[in-house]
């Protein structure tokens, strides 16, 4: 036994206890009927109208927040590349700083800000402006998702952008490319791997979240995550909850495979 193998034991234990056993138990519950016996009902339950509607809403909100994150993060990464602060890593440090705080607390902070008698309305009122009524709407949930997950989009894109060799950009200009053409043909393709991992890291947690919709949706924005959570906690139906979770896992695997394909073609063509 080599030295490195010896030290891998704790990690094997971790993987078994932290990944294999939980997934197996979810699979066990997912394929078991409440009264005992094997069944597919918990899996097919996903296709009932209520669950499909929640899944549709989850997909929509996750897509919107991923898109917003992308629109905000990409130009930000470009700006950071060119700025003096960006190179020193100070700006990125400031952006990452809130991540050191628990995301539940950050979401709760939005509650305090957005509530009807909250901080934002207090300021608006003091300025004589009309109140905002964003709390407990899908918009507030998207806002929460964007705020919580934005660093996960910025970091990988920032890394990809910072790694671009400036000689490539100079070469593009030398060969007669305009600024827009250069961004489209040099910067963007080289960022694809970063963009793809950013999208994965934002889309998946946004798709499955139930905390953000609970805290900012006022119980009126029912996402698939909320339904699964309710099955486990309130209805004590671990079987249905596990079945739905399994379907969600398949969804996530599919989206990861799709994104990875994108990533590879990007790398293959341009590097």
């Amino acid at each position: 036994m080599t030295f490195s193998k010896k030290w891998s034991a704790p990690f094997i234990v971790f993987v078994i206890a932290g990944t294999v056993i939980p997934i197996l138990s979810i699979a066990y519950y997912g394929f078991t009927a409440r009264g005992g016996g094997i069944t597919l009902d918990n899996i097919t339950a996903m296709f009932s109208a209520n669950h499909m509607q929640a899944l549709g809403l989850s997909l929509l909100l996750a897509l919107v927040s991923t898109l917003v994150c992308l629109i905000v993060a990409f130009p930000m990464a470009i700006v950071l590349r060119d700025s003096k602060f960006g190179k020193q890593g100070f700006t990125i440090f400031v952006l990452i700083l809130p991540m050191w705080m628990n995301f539940l607390l950050r979401t709760m902070a939005w509650q305090v800000l957005l509530e009807r008698a909250g901080v934002i309305n207090g300021i608006l009122q003091a300025l004589g402006l009309p109140r905002q009524e964003m709390m407990n709407t899908p918009g507030a949930v998207v806002l929460g998702m964007v705020y919580d997950f934005l660093p996960f989009m910025i970091l990988p894109i920032y890394n990809a952008v910072m790694k671009i060799d400036s000689h490539l950009i100079e070469a593009a200009y030398d060969l007669g490319a305009g600024k827009a053409y250069m961004y489209r043909k040099v910067i963007l393709p080289l960022c694809v791997p970063g963009i793809v991992s950013g999208i994965t890291m934002v889309f998946i947690p946004a798709l499955t979240t139930f905390v953000i919709s609970n805290m900012l949706g006022g119980g009126k924005v029912n996402l698939i995550g909320n339904i699964i959570e309710q099955e486990f906690t309130v209805n004590s139906n671990w079987y249905l909850g596990s079945g739905l979770s399994l379907v969600m896992m398949v969804f996530i695997i599919i989206s990861m495979v799709l994104l990875e394909k994108f990533d590879k073609t990007g790398e293959g063509t341009f590097i």
């Binding site: 036994m1 193998k5 010896k6 034991a9 704790p10 094997i12 234990v13 206890a17 409440r34 109208a49 209520n50 669950h51 509607q53 929640a54 509530e115 009807r116 008698a117 009524e133 709390m135 407990n136 006022g218 119980g219 009126k220 029912n222 909320n226 339904i227 309710q230 099955e231 906690t233 309130v234 209805n235 004590s236 139906n237």
Partner: protein, 350 residues
């Protein structure tokens, strides 16, 4: 082969680490499992001083969360406090020990009305001792509702209060309201009735500002909402923050809960557990806990010690007539639970 040994060793270490948290099992200790922040810590400290028994407390958020912990024996608690329907379920599954009334001289302090109410889930009062009672009702801001007289669950459907209504975020509590309004039993298992209640709740949804469990009182207190549903124990707290707030128990009747002490079968120290329960039934201690929680105390002897301004408050100490209109939520069979859950999802999806 060697590899396996390493894995086993790691598992063993992990196991030991987990088990040190289990319990020590010495004499003179008692493990209490309760809802969070549910008694005055001073009362616990006094108990420790008086008896020399060390109290180790753990808390949980919902009875559903507590149940598997006791059922699977993850930890052995000596005393638990939980709600009526859960007591019934635990009695049914033989998870509780009978309380020896000989060891509870202070039990005489408990109001016989509440002992009788408790018999609906614990016949003969053999397994549980009532600790706190709560009645659900409507809390409203009298300035914001204007000249509308609030006395019915139907007021939560008044379009005048659009975006100012706070409803509970809980299947059974919301269905209780709709079922009562329709004149049905709040514990019905009749699908037609459940469906009708769901339709009613769907109609209400566009008017609701928020479905929330704990923040109703806060939204009422800061004037963000005009009307909401809370337990009567929240009333004094909210009124202290906002004097415009009033509480009413609707004329259609309502749900109430009885949270009681019980001793799980896994208890290692029944004698100490009974000493603890007896202590909590003492008038002075019950008064202390009342002043901490402002829920209805079923302790008659404590009533005499409680300040008059609270004693007069019908919201906190409901009359016999009101109590007669109240019913606890019963545990439903899984088929009915699934029905409620199905229709609740429809309400939520709207």
């Amino acid at each position: 082969m060697k590899k396996i040994k390493w894995v086993l060793a790691a598992v063993a270490v992990l196991g030991m680490m987990l088990c040190t948290g289990c319990r020590s099992g010495e004499n003179g200790e008692i493990y209490v499992y309760s809802y969070g922040d549910y008694f005055d810590q001073e009362a616990i400290a006094d108990f420790e001083d008086e008896t020399g028994i060390r109290v180790i407390q753990d808390t949980y958020d919902t009875a559903e969360e507590m149940y598997p912990v006791i059922e699977k024996g993850t930890a052995d608690y000596d005393v638990i406090i939980t709600s009526d329907y859960m007591i019934e379920k635990m009695i049914h599954h033989k998870m509780l020990l009978e309380v020896d009334k000989k060891n509870l001289p202070a039990l005489k302090n408990i109001d016989s009305r509440y002992m009788k109410k408790s018999e609906s889930f614990d016949p003969g009062n053999r397994y549980s001792v009532p600790y706190m009672v709560g009645v659900s009702g409507i809390i409203y801001n009298k300035k914001m509702v204007g000249d509308v007289k609030i006395d019915s669950w139907g007021d939560l459907w008044n379009p005048k209060f659009k975006d100012s209504i706070v409803m509970p975020d809980s299947v059974r509590d919301d269905f209780m309201i709709a079922l009562r309004l329709l004149g049905y039993d709040q514990n019905t298992s009749n699908e037609k009735e459940i469906k009708a209640a769901a339709e009613l709740l769907k109609k209400q949804k566009p008017l609701v500002y928020k479905y929330a469990n704990d923040s109703a009182r806060d939204l009422l207190a800061d004037g963000s909402a005009a009307i909401g549903v809370v337990w009567n124990g929240e009333y004094i707290y909210t009124k202290d923050l906002n004097p415009d707030v009033e509480f009413v128990i609707p004329k259609e009747g309502t749900e109430f809960f009885v949270d009681s002490w019980a001793i799980p079968k896994t208890s290692k120290n029944k004698a100490n557990a009974e000493k603890f329960i007896n202590y909590m039934c003492k008038a002075k201690v019950a008064k202390k806990n009342f002043d901490y929680l402002y829920y209805t105390t079923p302790n008659e002897a404590a009533m005499k010690l409680i300040e008059k301004k609270y004693r007069k408050e019908e919201a906190i100490f409901p009359t016999d007539e009101t109590l007669d209109m109240c019913d606890t939520l019963k545990t439903l069979d899984t088929k009915t639970t699934d029905l409620y859950s199905k229709y609740w999802k429809e309400v939520k999806a709207k």
